[in-house]
Symmetry: C2
Subunit: 393 residues, 2 copies
C-alpha cells in the first residue's frame, strides 16, 4: 500500500441485494446534523422520539424498545444472551444461515440447544415442531421471521402458539421484515424481537432495533447470573434509554439521527401502506421472473418473503458472470447464495426504497439483457411486460 489515500469517490450503485438497501437523501441529510453530546437534553428528546417511532413500527407498547449500538447480529446476540443462562434449554427453528447463527450464539452462552431443522427454502410445519418439543422445558423458542439467506417467510402465529404451550419466550429475528412485512409484536405476543437499520427501514447499517416485552423483562430481572456481555447487557443499556438516563456507552449519535429520519419517512407513508408496497413490488418481480422461465427458490408462494426474493439459477447460467455484469455494467447489486446455496440461487432485495415498480422494472430489464448474453433462452421483453402487468394490478 503506497502513501496515497484518495478521498472516497465511489460510483452510485443500485442496491438490490438483501441489504444494505437504498437510503433516502433525507436520511443522509439528517445524519450530518452536527454531532451532539449523548447527555445533552435536546439529544435525549430525539432518543424519546426514536423509541416511540420504533414502538409504532414493531406495533408494540413495550417500554424496552431502542436500537442496539451495532449491526443486526449485535441485535441477535442481545436478544438471546440476555434471556438464556448457562444450562437453560432453548429451541431454534433452523431453515437458513441466520437461524443457524442463533444456534451458535446460544451454545456460546451456555444454553442447551434444541435444534429443529427444516429444508432450506421451506417453512417449518408447526405440528412437527410441537411434536419435537413436547414435554421439554424450553425457556426460549427462537425463529427467524424472514430468513435473509433463503427468502422464506415463516408464519409467526402458529409458532407463537407453540411458545405459549411450552411456556417459552418467543424470540423473533425480524431483520429483513420490520417495516416491510406485516408484524404485530403485541398482538402476536412476540416476547423479544430485533431487526437491522439497513433493510426495510432504509437507513445505513449500524443499528439494531430491539423490543422486549414484560414477560421477557421479568426473566431478565430474575437472572441468577450476570449477562456475559457488558456492552449488550440490556438491564444496563435500558437504563440509558429510560427516564433514568444513566450513562452506559456513547451511542452512535449520527446514526441515530439517520434512523430518526428513516422512521419519520415510514410514519409518513404509514406502516400498512409500506407492507402493501412491498407485497406489490414482490408480486411484480415474481411475475416478471416467471415469464422468463425462471423459478423462485421458495416453491410455495405463501411462504415467500416479499422483501428477500430468491431465484434458482438456471442450468448452464454462470452465477458470478451474471452478478458481475449486473454490477459492473448496470451498477446493480444483487447477491448470490450463502453456504450450501452458493451458486444455486440469487437473492434480490426489494426493501424500503427499492420496493417500487420502477426498481422492479430496472432489475428485470437488466436481467433480461444479461441472461440473453449468457445464452439463456426466453422471449425478449416478456419479463418486463409481465412484471409491469402485475405491478399495475
Amino acid at each position: 500500500m503506497n502513501n496515497h489515500f484518495p478521498a472516497i469517490n465511489l460510483p452510485k450503485r443500485l442496491l438490490l441485494g438483501p441489504g444494505p438497501s437504498e437510503v433516502d437523501p433525507r436520511v443522509y441529510r439528517a445524519m450530518i446534523q452536527p454531532v451532539m453530546g449523548h447527555m445533552d437534553p435536546l439529544f435525549l428528546e430525539i432518543l424519546n422520539q426514536v423509541q416511540e417511532m420504533l414502538r409504532r413500527s414493531f406495533r408494540t407498547r413495550n417500554a424496552i424498545t431502542f436500537p442496539i449500538p451495532g449491526t443486526g447480529t449485535a441485535g441477535m446476540e442481545a436478544a438471546l444472551i440476555n434471556f438464556i443462562e448457562p444450562g437453560d434449554e432453548a429451541a431454534v427453528i433452523v431453515g437458513g444461515v441466520f437461524a443457524a447463527r442463533m444456534c451458535e450464539i446460544i451454545e456460546r452462552c451456555g444454553g442447551k440447544l434444541n435444534r429443529f431443522d427444516v429444508p432450506w427454502g421451506t417453512a417449518a410445519d408447526p405440528d412437527k415442531i410441537r411434536q419435537a418439543l413436547r414435554g421439554k422445558k424450553i425457556k426460549v423458542l427462537a425463529m427467524v421471521h424472514s430468513e435473509t439467506s433463503t427468502g422464506v417467510c415463516q408464519p409467526l402465529e402458529p409458532i407463537r402458539q407453540i411458545a405459549e404451550e411450552l411456556g417459552a419466550l418467543l424470540v423473533v429475528d425480524t431483520v429483513s421484515s420490520l417495516g416491510g412485512l406485516p408484524l404485530e409484536v403485541d398482538a402476536w405476543k412476540v416476547d423479544v424481537s430485533y431487526s437491522g437499520s439497513q433493510k426495510c427501514l432504509a437507513c445505513p447499517p449500524g443499528l439494531a432495533p430491539i423490543t422486549v416485552g414484560e414477560r421477557a423483562a421479568e426473566v431478565l430481572r430474575k437472572r441468577r447470573t450476570l449477562v456475559q456481555s457488558w456492552y449488550l447487557d440490556m438491564s444496563m443499556v435500558e437504563k440509558y434509554w429510560s427516564a433514568e438516563r444513566r450513562y452506559h456507552h456513547t451511542p452512535p449519535v449520527n446514526m441515530l439521527f439517520g434512523l430518526h429520519e428513516a422512521l419519520r419517512l415510514l410514519q409518513e407513508e404509514g406502516l400498512e401502506a409500506s407492507w402493501k408496497r412491498h407485497r406489490g413490488a414482490h408480486a411484480g418481480l415474481v411475475a416478471g421472473l416467471e415469464a422468463l422461465g425462471l423459478q423462485m427458490f421458495v416453491h410455495d408462494p405463501a411462504f415467500r418473503a416479499a422483501t428477500v426474493n430468491t431465484i434458482r439459477i438456471p442450468e448452464g447460467v454462470d452465477d458470478v458472470r451474471v452478478r458481475t455484469c449486473l454490477l459492473q455494467r448496470f451498477g446493480i447489486e444483487i447477491a448470490g447464495g450463502l453456504a450450501d446455496l452458493k451458486g444455486k440461487i440469487w437473492r434480490v432485495g426489494l426493501m424500503g426504497l427499492t420496493a417500487t415498480p420502477a426498481m422492479v422494472l430496472q432489475l428485470v430489464s437488466a436481467l433480461e439483457f444479461v441472461l440473453a448474453e449468457c445464452g439463456y433462452k426466453f422471449q425478449p421483453g416478456a419479463g418486463v411486460a409481465a412484471a409491469e402487468k402485475a405491478l399495475a394490478s
Copy 2:
C-alpha cells in the same frame, strides 16, 4: 407522546466535553456517500485503506487492525474477552471508571481478577504494581492510557516492562489518546489496543478501532474455548477484514466512510504534528485556568492527559449551574465528573478539531463570564491573557 415527530433541528453545540468531539465537514460529507454493499469490490478497497491508515495511527504493522462495529466499550470488550478464557488470571490497573469497567468485563467472561487500585487522579507507581503481581501467573495485564474519567495519562513504557516480566499480554485502552497523545504500539510492544472514533480521531461515535499483535493473535488461535460473543469474536471478524473477505456481519458502511476521511485528515496533518497540537492546546488551557486560580484535578503535570482536562470545581461554585449556563447560553458542552467525582470536577476535552488556540480561548472566556456570575473571585481577563500567552509560546 403525540403523533408529531418533527425533523431534527438542533442548535450547533461546541463539544468540549470528553467526547464525542467536533467533526470536520469533510467527514460528514464522506459519510453521505451513497451506501455500498459490504462485499462490493470497490468498498473492500476502502476497507484496505482504513486498515492501513489505522495502522499508521497506532504506529503498528499488526495485520489484525480494523474498527470494531460498535462504540468504544465494544472495543474494550473485544480486547478482553478474546484473550481471557474462564479461569485465566488477569490484572487491571484501576484509577477511574473505564479501568473499573475493564474489571467488570473480565469477571463476566470468567477471568480471575487481580485489581490494582490507585487513587483517582494519580498515576500508578510501577514498582508497587511489580511487587503486587510478583510470582503471579498473569495472562493479561490491562490498563487505560488516558483515563477519560480522571484526566490521568498513565505512562505506558514502565507497565509494558512489567507485562514482559510477567509474560503477560499488555492490553491498553487508548480511547481518548489515539491520535492525540504519543502512542507507539509496536515500539512499546503493546499487544492489544483499542480506541473510539469520537475522540481525537474526530469522527462521530460508532466505531472502535482495535489492533492485535502477533503474540496476542497466537493466544487467540490457541484458545481452548469459544469466545462467548459471536459478534465480537475476533477470529471470525478478522476473516472479513483479511484477504479471505469472509462475510461475518454487515459493517456500518457509512460510518466507515466517515472514519476513512477522518484518518485522511490525520494523515494530512501528520501524527506527530497532531500530538504537538494537542499538547499545545492543553498547555494553553492549563495556564488560563490556573491564572483564574482554578486547580487541575491531576496534581502532577507529568501525568496529565492533554486530551481530557480535569478541573477541581472551586468551593462555593455550583457544578450544574456552571455547566448549564455554558450549554444553554454559550452552546458549549463540558462534562461533570463520573461516579465519586460527580460534583467535584469538570472535564474538558481538547481532542481532534478542538485542540486549537481558538477553542481554548472560547472556553476560557466563556468560563470567566460564568464563574463571575457565580460569585467566584478572580481578576477579569486574566485567564484569557494567560492562555493566549502560553498558546503563543
